[in-house]
């Protein structure tokens, strides 16, 4: 339910982006006659029985898969450990390259796939591990087997990992009004504008497309933030990939706050977002 709301806070599509999305959907034949151009960000949530081919694309004449249909939108995989492991591993390359090349005997095609990858999972087979209300009945082996279905390299590519606790019955009625989607969207649009402005000369639009060289140019850290990151690196055993990703996330958090400089708070928050990594997989 939470994941389905994500498109509602994503920044507005530009005309070029809308065209590109429409093209992909047109190729795959899913464009409806009453919507000649797609103006909203796509949200794809394939069932966990999906095959690797239909996820990345394929066929005699390769057609775009779910990841390309989610271009500039969201690909949501619910119950991540239930997916076939092989199916999940094919995501590794496309997540990094933002495009996928499908080679068949007759042709070789490259489709774009610049999507936001969102996934959800239970903490253990019974679903109560770490819950304060109910006892978990799983054995430690069962839990680590369940977690182990998500490979380290895939997890490494997920920037924000958070554990959410159950919503209590009383909260469903909701007394205090939280921020609405349109309010959040305003903040997001503002941050996006800052990024477009900043990367005018670099031919990119967002923090996520920063290359290592650009990271060192645009993600300058103060001394204490540097020390924090170094400490986190040594203690948590983060990968080189995680290093770049933490900086990008911290840059984005700073942008959302409208802060020019990446502060220690931002780095700390970005590190906290890699909670699963350090908690379950590194023990």
């Amino acid at each position: 339910m939470l994941a389905r709301r994500i498109p509602s806070i994503l920044p507005d599509l530009s005309f070029e982006e809308a065209l590109e999305i429409t093209k992909i959907h047109s190729i795959s034949g899913t464009l409806k006659p009453d919507t000649p151009i797609i103006t909203t960000r796509p949200f794809r949530s394939p069932h966990h029985t999906i095959s690797a081919t239909s996820l990345v694309g394929g066929g005699i004449i390769p057609k775009p898969g779910e990841i390309s249909l989610a271009h500039y939108g969201v690909l949501f995989l619910d119950e991540l450990p239930e997916f076939n492991q092989h199916t999940l591993e094919v995501l590794r390359g496309p997540l990094e390259d933002k495009s996928v090349t499908i080679s068949r005997l007759n042709s070789s095609l490259t489709y774009p796939c610049d999507f936001m990858f969102v996934a959800s999972m239970n903490p253990c087979p019974c679903g109560y591990y770490g819950s304060s209300d109910k006892e978990c009945t799983c054995t430690p082996q069962a839990i680590s087997k369940y977690m182990g279905k998500i490979s380290g390299p895939l997890l490494d590519r997920i920037d924000i990992q958070i554990e959410v606790s159950q919503v209590k019955y009383e909260k469903l009625g909701n007394e205090e009004l939280p921020e609405t989607s349109s309010q959040i969207k305003e903040r997001v649009n503002r941050a996006k504008q800052i990024q477009i402005e900043r990367y005018k000369k670099e031919n990119i639009y967002a923090n996520s497309s920063l290359t290592p060289k650009l990271i060192s140019k645009y993600c300058k850290l103060e001394e204490d933030s540097k020390a924090l990151l170094e400490k986190a690196f040594n203690k948590l055993g983060l990968s080189a990939r995680a290093y770049g990703r933490i900086l990008k996330v911290a840059r984005t958090i700073a942008d959302l706050e409208g802060s020019e400089q990446i502060k220690k708070v931002h780095i700390a928050e970005a590190i906290q977002y890699r909670s699963l990594d350090k908690k379950y997989w590194k023990n």
Binding site: G130, S132, I162, L228, K231, V265, A268, K279
Partner: protein, 262 residues
């Protein structure tokens, strides 16, 4: 000390000889396991400003010297020959590096004495004598490192051993000493705690975030709850939690909650 050396030749920073130090010794044919833990211990102990003493032989000794210097720590090498006859020859580079990094080289033999085989076990008494305690990482049955540990016991020094696999020939002596009452250590903190050496960063972090640290107990508590209890914005709490966790003061447990580590 019985059979104390008549004289010591020292090259480099001789003030080090009077400072707190720990000896790290072990086999020449080290395994990955030994290498890993020798480096972890050397690095961590050196970081606290404690000098690492070793014998500048190949294997564990070399690892101990190199990694102690990585944390800008200082190190003492005790030779079995004169300064002009470094053995093994490939360690001449290490010899220079130690002096450049403010460490020192010690030998009881005049500079031109060749590296006689029979002198090596004898210099082990200087290694153990200089240090407060000896950490035995990996050692075979009746090896040179075993001699160092025996000297340490004779001289009233502590012997620390890391546990080893039973079927590893290089694990024999470590396990033997543990069986006979040496201190079993599993992390550098064990040694530091033994000598009551505190980690400065550790205390500083605990002080800096004292208010939030006090609120975390043995029962898991989430960041949201902490934010409400401390009347502070969530971002500030997250920063504190991150710092406290990195210092090893608290632990992140399942359910996105935190507990204190005693």
């Amino acid at each position: 000390m019985q059979d104390a050396p008549k004289q010591l030749y020292v090259e480099g920073n001789c003030d080090l000889l009077l400072q707190d130090s720990i000896a790290i010794v072990g086999t020449r044919n080290l395994t990955d396991y030994g290498k890993r833990y020798a480096s972890i211990f050397a690095k961590r102990i050196a970081k606290e400003g404690i000098t690492i003493v070793s014998g500048m032989a190949v294997g564990i000794d070399t690892v101990a010297h190199i990694y102690s210097m990585k944390e800008k720590g200082r190190t003492i090498a005790v030779l079995g020959g004169g300064f002009n006859n470094i053995f093994p020859k490939e360690n001449i580079y290490l010899y220079k590096q130690i002096i450049e990094n403010g460490g020192c080289i010690v030998s009881e033999y005049s500079p031109d004495t060749p590296a006689y085989k029979q002198n090596f076990p004898k210099r082990n008494r200087i290694i153990s004598g200089l240090a407060m305690g000896v950490l035995l990482v990996e050692a075979r049955y009746r090896s040179g490192s075993t001699i160092t540990a025996r000297y340490a016991i004779k001289q009233g020094r502590q012997v620390f051993c890391i546990p080893n696999k039973l079927d590893e020939p290089t694990g024999y002596s470590g396990n033997y000493f543990i069986k006979n009452g040496a201190n079993l250590v599993t992390c550098p903190k064990d040694i530091l705690d033994f000598y009551n050496i505190c980690d400065d960063d550790f205390i500083k972090t605990a002080k800096e975030y004292e208010e939030i640290y006090e609120l975390i107990g043995m029962l898991p508590i989430s960041a949201d709850e902490l934010s409400k209890l401390a009347h502070k914005p969530l971002a500030e709490i997250e920063e504190a939690l991150c710092m406290l966790e990195l210092e090893g003061l608290i632990k992140h447990v399942a359910g996105n909650k935190f507990v204190k580590i005693m």
